[in-house]
Amino acid sequence: MTTTPLEGSGRLTAGPLADGATSPVRPRRPRRRGRSAPYWFLVPTLTLFAAFTVVPIGYAIWLSLHKVQVKGAGLGRGARAEVWNGIGNYADVFENSEFGHSILRAFGYGLIVIPTMLGLALVFALMLDTPLVRGASFTRLAIFLPYAVPGIIAAVMWGFLYLPDVSPFYYVLRELGLPQPDLFDGGNLYLSLANIAVWGGTGFNMIVIYTALRAIPQEIYEAAKIDGASNLKIALRIKIPIVMPSLVLTFFFSVIATLQVFTEPKTLRTLTNGVSNSWSPLLAIYDSAFGRSDIYGASATAVVLAGATFLLSFTLLRISDRFTREDKA
């Protein structure tokens, strides 16, 4: 899960930016000395950004428009040459059903993960925000704890818990004489993978939403209480609308994280053949780049995925902007 407020992406940024960054410095009299200072301070950032983001993206685009042409027997120097392929690789991406299927799988997976994870995060945050909850600091910490567990280790742990021979769940099912589903089987695999993501991401999102709840002035609740509102009503009518921008934000980053799922299916692959080599979009790209050594096709696929991510992001940002503006009015 990746979460950061982008500009205009949610009201989370409103506080700090309002009293700081949007009006950063009082207009200064132009002075000769020190005017270049900000540029110098930005040199490391921009150098790294150019070297590890801009250049690789440019290179990926370049690669995506080329292909290898093998001359003669394909042996010796100069036998393999990179030649212009135009949109050929892109045409292949859209014809390649493997990638299309991986996108569909990611969509199905996201459809399970995102509502479950954010729903749970919201419920936990609301519960946490109720007065008189016992052991709140312990349970809050326990739910947040999976954040500290690397995705690969989470996948290993859950992977074993899905294995009938070592899993306590299967033990309980056996003892109770209940049917024992194959958790790596086609449809169940979605649930198994989704569960790992929900386990890992709920706590973090809970904290984001909870923080937004804590920022609500207590007087609002006092007033609502005087008007005779129940805790449930306060939650539904006051708290949820107020944390909506945080929910939109966590939704936004969950969507991006869904498109980028890689570690968990990769790890479960070591336990079952049920996960294909191209289960998620990133696995598909990795497989075509390094498994099948088709870096040109892989680059085109990666560019398509990046383009789709940007498009989706801007659409979501626009929707959320309109949404929060209406919310304010």
Binding site: G34, V55, P168, I285, F310
Partner: protein, 291 residues
């Protein structure tokens, strides 16, 4: 919202003494769900090879110390080499990341200059680029420079943190008073001196946060080492455990090592986590990121 308070949020004064049972129960179930895999890994790591597949999964076994010593001696202690590599990648990477973010975020938060907003948005847009879109060409470029499969190939791409720059920008504009910088300039201090002697100490809590986020982010990263590294003596712990797990498919005897390895690998992070959450502001967290 005041994202910059670093004090722990105090509990609200309770009026009535009775417990809210439903919320307490819901939270307890949530905590149980989150702790089950951890409890399982603790239990499973105490089992020897035969116990793992034969005894009840949640009962303790008799082989914890054996498992640890077998893990330590596996391929001449490569496990500890992986832990050391992770500590190096995460420690050095996060330190450099905090330094770069400090300078970049300070420039964006405390100076008005041409192109400021453009630079800021450009860097934030970098967040949206899927990891593999960068990893594949990064690997190819690194290979061309002869840096693939080196410590550099892991370290260099981990330094720039758009979130770090973003956080420091917020922090600098809120916690470093413009008047103070102005006064220092009047006194003839150089911009570098103002930055290093005044701004950096004032931004320190923010920089610690950047360091911690980046540390966790690099420690947990799997894709980058998976793409960049081939020599397993350079692997971080995530990739090391993955390869061990992958070998376990043909040698199930390795599973006990994987499980013990997972437990030992999580301990430092959880310890770090317990220490920092005491002063880690929840507010800051929400203005921030899980990388």
């Amino acid at each position: 919202m005041t994202p910059l308070t670093l004090t722990a949020t105090t509990d609200r004064p309770s009026r009535a003494k009775r417990t809210a049972w439903i919320p307490t129960l819901v939270m307890a179930i949530g905590a149980l769900y989150c702790l089950i895999p951890v409890a399982w890994v603790v239990m499973a790591s105490t089992k020897n090879r035969s116990e793992l597949f034969s005894t009840f999964t949640m009962s303790p076994g008799s082989g914890f110390m054996d498992n640890v010593s077998q893990l330590s001696s596996y391929r001449d202690g490569i496990y500890w080499q992986w832990m050391g590599n992770s500590a190096f990648y995460a420690g050095a990477g996060a330190l450099l990341s905090a330094a770069v973010s400090a300078a970049g975020g300070y420039a964006l938060g405390r100076f008005a200059f041409r192109g400021r907003e453009f630079v800021f948005k450009l860097i934030l847009a970098g967040v949206l680029v899927p990891g593999i879109v960068l990893a594949v060409p990064q690997y190819l470029l690194m290979s061309k420079m002869g840096l693939a499969d080196s410590y550099w190939s892991m370290l260099l791409p981990s330094i720039l943190s758009p979130y770090g720059v973003y956080l420091v920008r917020i922090y600098a504009s809120a916690a470093v008073p413009a008047e103070l910088l102005e006064a220092a300039r009047m006194d003839g201090a150089s911009e570098w001196r103002i930055f290093s002697r005044i701004a950096v100490p004032m931004m320190m809590p923010g920089l610690v946060t950047v360091f911690l986020f980046q540390f966790v982010g690099i420690w947990n990263n799997f894709l980058l080492p998976y793409v960049m590294l081939a020599d397993d003596t350079k692997f971080p712990i995530t990739l090391g455990l993955y390869t061990l797990m992958a070998q376990g498919a043909s040698q199930p005897a390795l599973y006990t090592l994987v499980i013990t390895g997972c437990l030992l690998a999580v301990i430092p992070l959880i310890a770090l986590f317990l220490v920092i959450q005491r002063f880690w502001s929840l507010d800051l967290l929400s203005g921030s990121v899980k990388a």
